[in-house]
Symmetry: C2
Subunit: 349 residues, 2 copies
Amino acid sequence: MEAKILIIEDNQDVRENLEELLQLSGYTVLVAPNGKVGTALALKHVPDLILCDVMMPELDGFGVLRILSNHPSTMDIPFIFLTAKTEKEDFRKGMGLGADDYITKPYDDIQLLDTLEIRLKKSARIKKSFDKSGYGLQRFIDETKAQKEFEKLIENREIRKYSKKDIIYDAGQYPKWLYYVVNGSVKTYLINEFGKEYTTNIYAPGEIFGYLPLLMDATYHDNAATIDDCELKLIPIEDFTLLLFNNREFAATYIKNLATRTTEIEAQMIDIAYSSVRKRVANALLKFSKSKNCTSMSILRDDIANLAGAAKETTIRTLSDFKSEGLINIDDNNKIELLRIDKLHQMPQ
Amino acid sequence: MEAKILIIEDNQDVRENLEELLQLSGYTVLVAPNGKVGTALALKHVPDLILCDVMMPELDGFGVLRILSNHPSTMDIPFIFLTAKTEKEDFRKGMGLGADDYITKPYDDIQLLDTLEIRLKKSARIKKSFDKSGYGLQRFIDETKAQKEFEKLIENREIRKYSKKDIIYDAGQYPKWLYYVVNGSVKTYLINEFGKEYTTNIYAPGEIFGYLPLLMDATYHDNAATIDDCELKLIPIEDFTLLLFNNREFAATYIKNLATRTTEIEAQMIDIAYSSVRKRVANALLKFSKSKNCTSMSILRDDIANLAGAAKETTIRTLSDFKSEGLINIDDNNKIELLRIDKLHQMPQ
DNA sequence: GTAACAATATGATATTAATCATCATTTTAA
DNA sequence: TTAAAATGATGATTAATATCATATTGTTAC
């Protein structure tokens, strides 16, 4: 293989340890004790991969990446950050600047070698102009084709009107239709054994819901109700499942959507588990605002509470706090207007 | 259509209201004011569908269903329960006894008619011996075929050994492999901005993890680490995505798994949101016990805490409480043994 | 037009669980 | 072999949030 790897790391122990590991693995290794030397070496020798510490005196890792990204000869070199476990925020910044991967210290030898190998392979493939369109399922999907199938699925369907607070389906029922939101918004929610409700999702116009039981051959596990007056298109389940099984572009897109949804809910879980009511209420407001595509909205306090997973009174108190802090406004008709979306997003704790 | 529907309902208002609605919709309607009369009518007239209240004097809905399920002439008649919104537990019991669907009171006319129509259609189809294998995606899946593909995918792979607490991957990294658990157990977890960890899932032998980013063409959104010493098979992502796109049985099975997982996490969410630490710790213990397939186990208190979404000290206190209540035992090596799995399952609040 | 009900709001209180601190063991690393 | 770190456990304190109660206003039904 004989790939050339540049290590930029100020800590001598770590640097020598890395150098030895990589040499033993058959790589040609260049080392630099700081960002300045590292940058110079990179421009002079054009390595196949750069492994760079973030925290360094003089010129830090971000600076090195910025400089090398601007030189045509070095801009395509795979760039991997080394960060300490504790500096959690660093990695986002690094990835944002265009780093290809990152490794946390203390690193695991095998994991590190794996990472290097994968990055080198990927880089080699890109050089051959292969595989520019992703490494996963995405590569196979013709998005426009799947989109067209979706449009065919929803066109010419019966539209049914629902009023605010109408129930669309209940847990335990057999699915009758798939629902497509034409306008208005819909919530899906769970009810626990003590009658408390928790809103799992809000669906906005253009979105489809009620498909999970079809995929599992089960009854609904959740309930669905309208949040305001709605128009929904009803799609026979037969049409959906046939399309799903017979059209692989559509199936692949669907798998992707399900995976995305899973990721989203998992992110929501840690939020419910450890965030304060303030933060959860702020997130609930932002979610409503996003689904209604508007910063001024009439929402029942119960709906906010069920999305935040908090008691109604607590939610109302929090809204009062937000109002007195100037983050939101509540008018005479109890309509909520988001004034400081930035601050709602960055709610501490 | 002219289907014959039997209504068994003790409340006169509800009964007459239902009768009128169904007659107007073109059904032939039979009514009974209680379970005894209802059973008799059903056996005499053999209706096409039975709509039956749960709470009734003398003979309740469950009793009616039990009797009619034992008569050959009535056992295949679609049976739909009417339950009040508040009696949440009833529906599980009803479905368990073999009811086909249930409707909550107060009911929505359109929803009710939809349900009846679907049940009647389905029943008609079954009579024609069609569609015995499910209504959703399941029907298309040849489980054994998909299973074989899966076995081919995991056979002859490199096995890598990991020690307890080893990190398998970190959030933000590009996926290198798909992991199959040969033995030991693995947790996937999220870290929030304040460094708190939340365990999203535990993987037991035979399970596969780390596929979400492949499906979305993204980097890992979570972290994975071993809980105890492990052996994992590493599967190149290429092989997985190719199989997923080219084999529709495999894709359909995968969609089903993802949907199931989504349902599971959503159920977990309401638990985190509203359950006490006691209940969450009990659930965490049960989850560990399930994944280890054993009632006696060594687990770090931190691991339990991160799965329960509680502080470590609080978790330890709860374990002490469980011990003094005789629900679990903790031996000299801090090994936890579940003594009363039933009580842990039915933890109140 | 009035009673009943729903929705928002806020006060008072109780409960839960996190945090900080300390200590005894056990495990790991030097 | 010894020091350092990790682990489990418990006490004391504090903060967060649910619950219960009540008031006000607006809305709906008869």
